[in-house]
C-alpha cells in the first residue's frame, strides 16, 4: 500500500497547471478562469465589478492599511483613463506604506514581539531592526527566496538583523529547576520553538510534532526533527552586534591601525598585570584627622581620575589631613593593622600648595622617606587651589610586623600633613626588587566577568576555592577555562564533556553543575557553602593547553544590580592528575573588593621601569587613539538577532526527553520531502543555516512557493485557498482551488519570487474587483464566500483601525523605522517581573503607525488588543475576527479615541469652517470617502448641534462602515 503522504497534494512537484477553458466570458486574467470554473462547478455566478469608491477603499486598506484621503478619492474617481485602476495599484505598491502594512502580516506569521514572554517578560529594546528589515524587504520587493535565506542565515548574507526571525519568539529567561541538567530541557524547548516556527513559516508543516515521535500525519520522522535542531543548535536567544553593510570595506580600513596596535601590544605585553604569586595590599588611612575630598574632575589625581597605563586611578575620593600646629616632629600614625612580611612600601597623600613641603615618613621611629606634599609623587607641582591625589611614592623595601608603626611627621610645626592610602607590595624574589613606576595591582573582583591570564600550561583539572565572600555563600554562575592559541574554546563546558563536582557538605554536593552549564545568570549559579572555604572543581574531557580563566557571579545583563554573594577572596589551581595542584591565580594581588564600585577597571600596567615610563606612556596614548579609530570603523550596535556560537554534537532525544540521548544526528532537512540535504556532523554552524536556507528555496522543494502564494492570497481575500496557511500537511485543510494555488505558486517562482508580481496578478483580476454585496444565492450556498462569488468584506485588523483613526484625525505620524514607541509604562522596580500599565495620555511618537509600537509579548494594547490582535505567545498565521462588547467600550470610551475625536473635530473646523453642514460633509468624506445621504446628514447634524462636534466624530469612528473594508 502507498502511504497517504505520497499522494498528498502539497508534496507533489510544482507544475504549472493549464488554465481552464471557461466558456462564459468573464475575467481579466487566468486567476479568473480558475475561480470561474469552480463557481460553475458549484452553480454560482461571480458578482459584478465593485464601484470605484469601493475599489479605492479596498485597495488602500489592503495595500497600505490606511483609508484613502479625499484628495486621493477625487483623483481616482475623476481619472477616466482605461488604466486608472492599474496605475492606482502601482502607486500603492510603490508607497512605503505598503511595506509597513504587509510586514505586519509577516510578523504575525513569525510570532515576532519585543519581549521575552513568560513570567519575567523582559523587554527587548534592540529587536526592532528585524521589524525594519521585514518592512524594507516588502518595500524593495526582495525576492521571496532570498527573503527566506536571509532570515535563516542573514549573518552570512550581509543582513545580520534578518536572523531576528530565529529568535523572534518567547524565551524563558527564568528557566525551570529540574536538576541535574535543567538547562538541557530548557534548551530543548527553545529549539523546539525555533524549529517549529521555521517549519510552519517556510514549509507550512507542523515539524515540531516530531519532537517526541515520528509525525503522526506528515512524512517527518523524529530524526528529521533533530536534524533541524542541529541546524539551529548554534543560535541562542540574545543580542549580537549588527554589522553594517560595508563591513568588509571597514574591516579593510581597520587593518592598518590594527597592525600598529599589534606592534604596540607586543611592546606592552611584558607589563600586563597578570596574576602574581604575591600579596599586594592597599591600606587606607584610619579614621583620624579630617576627611578632605579631592577636587572633582577626571584630570590626573582629581576625584574622578580613571587612570591610564602608567598612572593608577585616584583610589580614594578623599584623603585625611592632620591640622596644622600639631607640633614639629610630632608623629602622626594614620595607618594601622599592617601585615607582617617584607614589602615595598608605597606612600601617597593629598597634594595641595598649602600642605607641608617636608614630611618625614617613619617606620618604628626610623625615617624611611621624606616627601614634599605640595607636589605629586613624581615631583610635579601642585595645581593651584586644588586638592589632588599624589599617586604612589616608592619608599623602599622594608620588613613589617603586625605591631609596626608607620607614621608621618612634619618639620615645620604649622604645616598640614596629608595622608592617603599606603601600598604594600610583597617582595618574594630578587627580580621584584627592581624599582617600578607603580605597584603591581590587579582590578578588584566584580560581579561580572573576572579574568585570570597566565602562561600556557597543560591541565586536565581546574579548582576554584572560595575563601571569602561579601555575604555568606559565594556564587559563581560560570567558570570558563580557555584553550591557548587561536580560536580559544571553553574546555570546561559540560557540552565538551567536562564534569563539575564540589565536595559533599551536610549530605549535599551542592549544585556544581551550574558552574559549567554555559548559562549566565544568578539562578544558574553554583554557590559555596555558608561556612567557607568551599571549592568547585572541573575535570576536562582530556588534557588541554590553557592560558585564561573567566569567572563571574552574574554575567547576565538582566539583573545589573546584584551585589551580594560575591566571592572576594579565592584561589584558582590547575592540575594534570587531580592530585598535585598548582596555583595560577588568586585574589591576593587584586585591589580589595571594597574598591569594586570605585575602580571596576584598572588600566594601569605593572612592572614598568621608571626609565621607560615616557616611552610606555607615549605608546599607550598612541594605542588609545588607534583603538578609538578602529572602534569607530567597526563598532556595531547590538541587535536581538541571536547569539551565535559553535555548538557541540546534537543527539536524537528519545520521546523528546533531554536526558534520554540516543544516536548523534547530523544537521539536515526533511529526508522525504524536497531535495536531499546531506551535511557533515561537524559543519560550522553558520554553514548549516546557509545550507538549510538553500534547501528551502531549491527549485525542487515544492512547499515554500505554495505556502507563500497561499499566504498572499489569504491576506488579500481574508482566507487562503488553504485556510490553514501554516499547515499544508495531511492534517491541514485542503485547498478550495488546488489548480489555482499551483498556478499562482509557479507564476510566483517564474516571476523571480517577486511578491509584488503576485500582488499585481491578484489585484488586477476580476475576482478581486468584484463587488462585496451579499447575494441570497451565494449566501445560501457558500456563506463564508470560500468560492469567491463576491469579494469577502471584513472588519479591519486592530492596527489598520488605529492607524485609520489617526489618519482621519490628521494626527498620523508617518516617520518610519527605528525604535518603537511604547504604549505602556513598564515597571520592574517593585518586583522581578515586568508589569505593563497602559498609557492614558498619548502624544508625539504614540501617533506613529502601530507596526512601530514596541510590542510586548502577551500584553495587548489597551484599546485595540480586543480586536483580535495576536499576543505573539504562539504563531498567528491567521487572525480570528470576533465581535465583542469590549470593542464597543474601547471605541466609545477610551481616552485614545476621545483624544482623536477632538483632533478630528479640530481638523473639521480647520478644513470645513464653522458651518455644520460643511463639517458633516467633510467628516463623511474623510471617514467614508463619500458624501452623506440626506437622512445621514440630518441625523449627523442633529448630533452635532445637540452634543458637539467631537461627539459626532466619536460616533463616526464607531460606525460599521468605518471599520469594515468593503
Amino acid at each position: 500500500m502507498i502511504e497517504p503522504w505520497r499522494k498528498h497534494w502539497s508534496f507533489q512537484p510544482l507544475r504549472q497547471p493549464a488554465v481552464p477553458d471557461v466558456a462564459a466570458a468573464w475575467g481579466r486574467n487566468p486567476i479568473d478562469a480558475f475561480v470561474r470554473a469552480k463557481l460553475a462547478e458549484k452553480g454560482l455566478e461571480p458578482s459584478p465589478e465593485a464601484d470605484r469608491r469601493t475599489l479605492l477603499r479596498r485597495l488602500s486598506f489592503d495595500l497600505a492599511g490606511l483609508p484613502p484621503t479625499p484628495e486621493e478619492s477625487d483623483a481616482f474617481l475623476s481619472d477616466g483613463a482605461p488604466d486608472a485602476y492599474e496605475r492606482l495599484v502601482e502607486r500603492l505598491l510603490a508607497s512605503p506604506r505598503y511595506g509597513e502594512r504587509w510586514a505586519r502580516h509577516w510578523l504575525d506569521v513569525v510570532r515576532f514581539a519585543e519581549s521575552d514572554g513568560f513570567e519575567r517578560n523582559n523587554l527587548r529594546p534592540n529587536a526592532w531592526p528585524y521589524r525594519d528589515y521585514v518592512i524594507r524587504a516588502f518595500n524593495e520587493d526582495k525576492p521571496y527566496d532570498q527573503f527566506v535565506r536571509e532570515q535563516v542565515a542573514g549573518d552570512a548574507l550581509g543582513v545580520d538583523e534578518a536572523t531576528g526571525f530565529i529568535v523572534g519568539g518567547s524565551f524563558d529567561f527564568l528557566q525551570s529547576f529540574e536538576p541535574p541538567y535543567f538547562n538541557l530541557g530548557q534548551r530543548a524547548d527553545e529549539l523546539y520553538e525555533i524549529v517549529g516556527t521555521a517549519g510552519s513559516t517556510f514549509l507550512g508543516l507542523t515539524v515540531g510534532c516530531a519532537r517526541c515521535h515520528d509525525h503522526k500525519f506528515d512524512p517527518i520522522p523524529q530524526a528529521d526533527y533533530y536534524a533541524l535542531t542541529a541546524v539551529f543548535q548554534g543560535v541562542e536567544h540574545g543580542e549580537r552586534p549588527l554589522l553594517p553593510r560595508n563591513h568588509d570595506e571597514l574591516i579593510a580600513q581597520a587593518a592598518a591601525p590594527r597592525r600598529r596596535i599589534a606592534e604596540i601590544d607586543a611592546v606592552l605585553a611584558p607589563f600586563a598585570p597578570v596574576p602574581q604569586a604575591k600579596r599586594v595590599l592597599v591600606v587606607p588611612p584610619a579614621a583620624e584627622g579630617t576627611l578632605q575630598a579631592y577636587t572633582a574632575g577626571t584630570a590626573r589625581g582629581q576625584a574622578g581620575d580613571l587612570g591610564d597605563e602608567v598612572r593608577l586611578p585616584t583610589l580614594n575620593a578623599a584623603f585625611r589631613s592632620r591640622p596644622a600646629a600639631a607640633g614639629a616632629n610630632a608623629e602622626w600614625q594614620p595607618w594601622s593593622g599592617l601585615p607582617a612580611g617584607r614589602f615595598r612600601v608605597w606612600l601617597s597623600w593629598g597634594v595641595a600648595a598649602s600642605h607641608a613641603s617636608v614630611v618625614r615618613c617613619t617606620l618604628d621611629g626610623r625615617e624611611i622617606a621624606r616627601v614634599n606634599q605640595t607636589t605629586f609623587a613624581d615631583g610635579t607641582a601642585a595645581v593651584a587651589a586644588e586638592e589632588r591625589w599624589s599617586g604612589f611614592y616608592d619608599a623602599g623595601i622594608h620588613t613589617l610586623n603586625t605591631s609596626s608603626r608607620l607614621a608621618l611627621a612634619g618639620i615645620d610645626p604649622d604645616a598640614i600633613l596629608a595622608a592617603d592610602v599606603v601600598g604594600l607590595e610583597e617582595v618574594r624574589s630578587a627580580a621584584a626588587e627592581r624599582p617600578t613606576l607603580t605597584p603591581h595591582l590587579r582590578a578588584p573582583v566584580i560581579v561580572k566577568t573576572n579574568e585570570e591570564r597566565f602562561a600556557p600550561v597543560e591541565a586536565k583539572w581546574v579548582r576554584f576555592t572560595v575563601l571569602g565572600s561579601n555575604t555568606p555563600e559565594g556564587y559563581i554562575d560560570e567558570l570558563e577555562v580557555l584553550s591557548a592559541g587561536p580560536n580559544p574554546r571553553n574546555v570546561a563546558l559540560v557540552e565538551f564533556g567536562a564534569k563539575a563536582t564540589s565536595p559533599v557538605i551536610d549530605g549535599n554536593d551542592g549544585n556544581s553543575f551550574y558552574v559549567n552549564d554555559g548559562r549566565f545568570n544568578e539562578r544558574a549559579a553554583w554557590n559555596s557553602p555558608a561556612k567557607e572555604p568551599g571549592f568547585v572543581q572541573i575535570e576536562f574531557e582530556k588534557v588541554e593547553r590553557v592560558d585564561r580563566i573567566l569567572w563571574s557571579r552574574n554575567r547576565s545583563d538582566r539583573q545589573p544590580n546584584l551585589d551580594d554573594h560575591l566571592v572576594t577572596t579565592y584561589r584558582i589551581e590547575l592540575s594534570i592528575d587531580g592530585q598535585r595542584w598548582t596555583e595560577v591565580a588568586s585574589s591576593e594581588d587584586r585591589l580589595g573588593s571594597a574598591w569594586r564600585k570605585r575602580v571596576p577597571v584598572l588600566p594601569t600596567l605593572s612592572f614598568v621601569p621608571p626609565a621607560r615610563a615616557a616611552e610606555i606612556a607615549r605608546l599607550a596614548a598612541e594605542r588609545r587613539v588607534l583603538l578609538a579609530d578602529v572602534k569607530r570603523l567597526i563598532d556595531s550596535p547590538a541587535v536581538y538577532a541571536g547569539k551565535l556560537r559553535e555548538p557541540g554534537p546534537t543527539f536524537r532525544l528519545h520521546r523528546g526527553d533531554p536526558l534520554a540521548r540516543r544516536e548523534q544526528v547530523a544537521p539536515g532537512a526533511l529526508a522525504r520531502l524536497g531535495p536531499k540535504l546531506d551535511l557533515p556532523r561537524e559543519l560550522p554552524e553558520q554553514r548549516r543555516r546557509v545550507a538549510f536556507g538553500e534547501w528551502l528555496t531549491a527549485p525542487d522543494n515544492p512547499l515554500p512557493a505554495r505556502v507563500m502564494a497561499n499566504r498572499i492570497w489569504h491576506y488579500h481575500f481574508g482566507t487562503g485557498i488553504v485556510d490553514t496557511p501554516s499547515d499544508l500537511g495531511l492534517n491541514g485543510a485542503r485547498p478550495t482551488h488546488p489548480e489555482l494555488l499551483d498556478w499562482l505558486a509557479s507564476e510566483f517562482v517564474a516571476r523571480g519570487w517577486r511578491m509584488k508580481e503576485l500582488h499585481r496578478l491578484i489585484l488586477t483580476s476580476a475576482t478581486y474587483r468584484q463587488s462585496s454585496k451579499p447575494q441570497a444565492r451565494g449566501l445560501e450556498a457558500d456563506a463564508s464566500t470560500r468560492f469567491l462569488w463576491r469579494y469577502p468584506p471584513r472588519r479591519m485588523e486592530a492596527e489598520s483601525l488605529r492607524d485609520a483613526i489617526l489618519a482621519v484625525g490628521g494626527r498620523l505620524d508617518l516617520r518610519a523605522g527605528g525604535p518603537g514607541f511604547f504604549l505602556f509604562q513598564s515597571d520592574i522596580s517593585k518586583s522581578n517581573i515586568q508589569t505593563f500599565v497602559p498609557k492614558r495620555e498619548f502624544a508625539g511618537d504614540d501617533f506613529r503607525r502601530m507596526v512601530y509600537q514596541l510590542k510586548p509579548r502577551a500584553q495587548l494594547d489597551d484599546v485595540f488588543g480586543a480586536f483580535d490582535c495576536p499576543d505573539a505567545g504562539q504563531i498567528a498565521p491567521t487572525r480570528t475576527r470576533s465581535t465583542t462588547p469590549l470593542q464597543a467600550f474601547n471605541l466609545m470610551n477610551s481616552p485614545f479615541v476621545m483624544q482623536q475625536a477632538e483632533a478630528l473635530a479640530a481638523r473639521l473646523e480647520r478644513e470645513a469652517g464653522a458651518e455644520p453642514a460643511a463639517q458633516v460633509r467633510r467628516a463623511f468624506r474623510l471617514m467614508f470617502g463619500r458624501d452623506p445621504a440626506p437622512a445621514e446628514a440630518t441625523a449627523a447634524s442633529d448630533l452635532l448641534a445637540g452634543h458637539g462636534l467631537p461627539l459626532l466624530c466619536r460616533a463616526l469612528f464607531n460606525a460599521n462602515e468605518f471599520v469594515y473594508v468593503p
Partner: protein, 492 residues
C-alpha cells in the same frame, strides 16, 4: 435552516475542513454540523465544536451531555499556598521536625539546597462532622471542611510560578493558550445576557504572576477572553468619558443606528454587520448591568459584615468586596468566574503565597486576607442554593516543600504533590481523594494531574474534554492537550 444566520465570523468558527471534507458543498457541511450539534453527539472521540452564531457569540449553547454544574468559580491562590500548612495533615513532619529529610541527600529545588524537615507551622484540628484535619491558618475556611472535596495528590509540570500558573489556568506551561474560562465560554456561551460570560477578578494588590495569560483567549476568538475587573477597578473603558452624559450616548447610539441600518440595508444578509450592531446593544446593556453588579447598596448589613467588606485591613476589605462581586456575578449566571488571591506587583512573597524566606510572617499577613471573605463566599453560595449548580475550585500553581530552604525560614516550591479542593455541583462533599507520602513531599496515591482536574471541571459542565477542540496552526487543540482523565472518584 441555520446557515444564513451565520456570519462570516461565525462561520469561521466552524471547521472549514469538515465543511469541505463532508459537504462538498457549503450547504452540506453546515447542515451536517448543525445536525451534530443538535444531537450533541457524534462518533466517539471525534472533534466537537460548538455551533456559534456570530451575531450572538455569548448565546447559550448545549453541552455534550447533561451537566452537573452550570457555572464555575475558580479561586486561584497565586504564589503557591503551602498544602502541608493548610489542608494536608502530616503528623510525620512533627516527629521528624528539625531533622534532615530522609532520602533527600541530593535534593536541590529551585532556590538551592534544602535544610531540615519543618513541622506544620500551624496546629491541625479535626473539623465538622467529618473530622477532617485542617490547620488553624485558615480558621473560617476550616469550618466549611464538610463542604469540601479535597484532592491531595495534585501534581504540576513545572516548579516555576510562570509556567505552572499557565498550566493551572490554560493547561499548557507555555504562553499563548486559552484559559479554562475561555474554553468553557467558547463551548457553552452564557445564560447571562448583559454581563461578560467569563470574568477574571484580580486581587486588590494587582495581577498574578502570569497576569492576563490566566484569562486570555489565546487562539480562540477574542470574544472568549475573560474580562478582568474587580470591585474597585471596573471594566476598562466601561464608563463614559468625563464630560459625556447618558443623553450624549443615547444620541450617539441613535446616529449609529441610522448609519448602520443604512449600511446594512446596502449589504443585506451580512451577519458580520448585524453582529457588530448587537455587540453595541450588548455593550449598552452591560454598562448598566456592570454598574449594578458592582453596587452593593442592596446587600444586607449582615452579609457585608460576614464578608468583611469594611475590614480595617484595606487589602482584606478589597478581597472581601471581590468575593461579594463574585457571588453577585454567579447569581446573575456568569458562566465562569476566576477569583484571584495574591498578586505579584509587589514582589516575591510580599503580596502572594510564595513563602521562601519568612513563611510564618508572610502567611500571617496573607491568610486573614483570604480566609474570612472566601469562607463567607462559600457559605453565601450554599445558603442561597447556588452551590447546587455551581462548582467551586480552590487551586494554586503547586505546593511547598516539607523542609525549610537552607539558610532561610521558608519553604521552596514543590510541584510533586499538593492540594486543591472542589465544592458544590457534582462533587462529593466531606471527601478526600489521593494522598502525598508521609512527609507531604510527593503524591503517591491516586496521583492526579492538572489535566485531570481540567477534564473533571469540563465534565461537570457537561463537556467531554477530548472532544471540545479548536483547530489552530495544524493541530486540533484541547484544554487538556493529549492527556487527562476525569477524576471519577470524586464525582457525587
Amino acid at each position: 435552516m441555520n446557515a444564513p444566520l451565520l456570519s462570516h465570523a461565525g462561520r469561521h468558527l466552524l471547521s472549514r475542513r469538515d465543511f469541505l471534507r463532508w459537504g462538498g458543498t457549503g450547504l452540506g457541511g453546515i447542515a451536517l454540523a448543525a445536525l451534530l450539534a443538535e444531537q450533541r453527539l457524534s462518533a466517539a472521540g471525534a472533534p466537537w465544536r460548538p455551533l456559534i452564531d456570530g451575531r450572538l457569540p455569548y448565546a447559550p449553547r448545549p453541552p455534550h451531555f447533561t451537566p452537573k454544574a452550570k457555572r464555575v468559580l475558580m479561586i486561584f491562590c497565586s504564589g503557591a499556598i503551602s498544602h502541608i500548612d493548610t489542608f494536608d495533615y502530616k503528623p510525620e513532619l512533627i516527629r521528624l521536625h528539625n531533622q534532615p529529610m530522609p532520602g533527600a541527600e541530593s535534593l536541590i529545588t529551585g532556590q538551592g539546597m534544602q535544610g531540615n524537615v519543618i513541622k506544620p507551622l500551624w496546629d491541625f484540628k479535626p473539623r465538622g462532622q467529618s473530622g477532617k484535619m485542617v490547620s488553624d491558618l485558615l480558621p473560617h475556611l476550616a469550618e466549611l471542611a464538610d463542604d469540601m472535596c479535597f484532592i491531595h495528590s495534585m501534581t504540576a509540570k513545572s516548579a516555576a510560578h510562570g509556567p505552572a500558573e499557565n498550566q493551572m489556568s490554560t493547561g499548557f506551561i507555555l504562553d499563548g493558550f486559552p484559559g479554562i474560562g475561555a474554553w468553557a465560554t467558547y463551548a457553552l456561551g452564557s445564560e447571562c445576557r448583559n454581563l461578560p460570560a467569563f470574568v477574571a477578578i484580580p486581587d486588590p494588590r494587582g495581577v498574578p504572576q502570569t497576569g492576563s495569560r490566566h484569562w486570555a483567549s489565546g487562539f480562540l476568538p477574542a470574544a472568549y477572553q475573560g474580562v478582568a475587573f474587580n470591585a474597585d477597578k471596573p471594566i476598562p473603558h466601561l464608563n463614559r468619558p468625563t464630560g459625556v452624559t447618558a443623553g450624549d450616548d443615547h444620541a450617539t447610539y441613535e446616529l449609529l443606528k441610522v448609519l448602520n441600518d443604512r449600511h446594512l440595508a446596502e449589504n443585506p444578509g451580512d451577519t458580520d454587520l448585524a453582529a457588530r450592531i448587537s455587540a453595541y446593544e450588548l455593550a449598552a446593556k452591560m454598562q448598566l448591568a456592570a454598574a449594578e453588579v458592582g453596587n452593593f447598596s442592596k446587600e444586607s448589613p449582615s452579609t457585608l459584615a460576614a464578608y468583611g467588606v469594611a475590614d480595617t485591613n484595606p487589602t482584606k476589605a478589597g478581597f472581601a468586596r471581590n468575593c461579594l462581586l463574585a457571588r453577585r456575578l454567579l447569581e446573575r449566571d456568569v458562566r465562569f468566574v476566576q477569583l484571584f488571591n495574591g498578586a505579584y506587583a509587589m514582589g516575591e512573597g510580599i503580596g502572594n503565597w510564595d513563602g521562601h524566606k519568612y513563611i510564618v510572617e508572610q502567611y500571617k499577613t496573607h491568610a486573614p486576607i483570604l480566609d474570612q471573605p472566601a469562607a463567607a463566599l462559600l457559605r453565601d453560595l450554599k445558603e442561597r442554593g447556588l452551590l447546587a449548580d455551581t462548582l467551586v475550585a480552590f487551586v494554586t500553581e503547586f505546593g511547598r516543600m516539607p523542609t525549610f530552604q537552607k539558610g532561610a525560614n521558608g519553604r521552596d516550591h514543590n510541584e510533586k504533590g499538593f492540594t486543591v479542593w472542589l465544592a458544590g455541583a457534582g462533587v462529593k462533599p466531606a471527601f478526600s481523594y489521593g494522598a502525598t507520602d508521609d512527609l507531604g513531599y510527593k503524591a503517591v496515591d491516586k496521583i492526579t494531574t492538572i489535566y485531570d482536574l481540567h477534564a473533571t471541571i469540563l465534565h461537570l459542565l457537561g463537556l467531554d474534554h477530548e472532544r471540545l477542540t479548536y483547530y489552530n496552526s495544524g493541530i486540533e487543540r484541547r484544554l487538556t492537550d493529549v492527556h487527562g482523565h476525569v477524576i471519577k472518584g470524586i464525582l457525587a
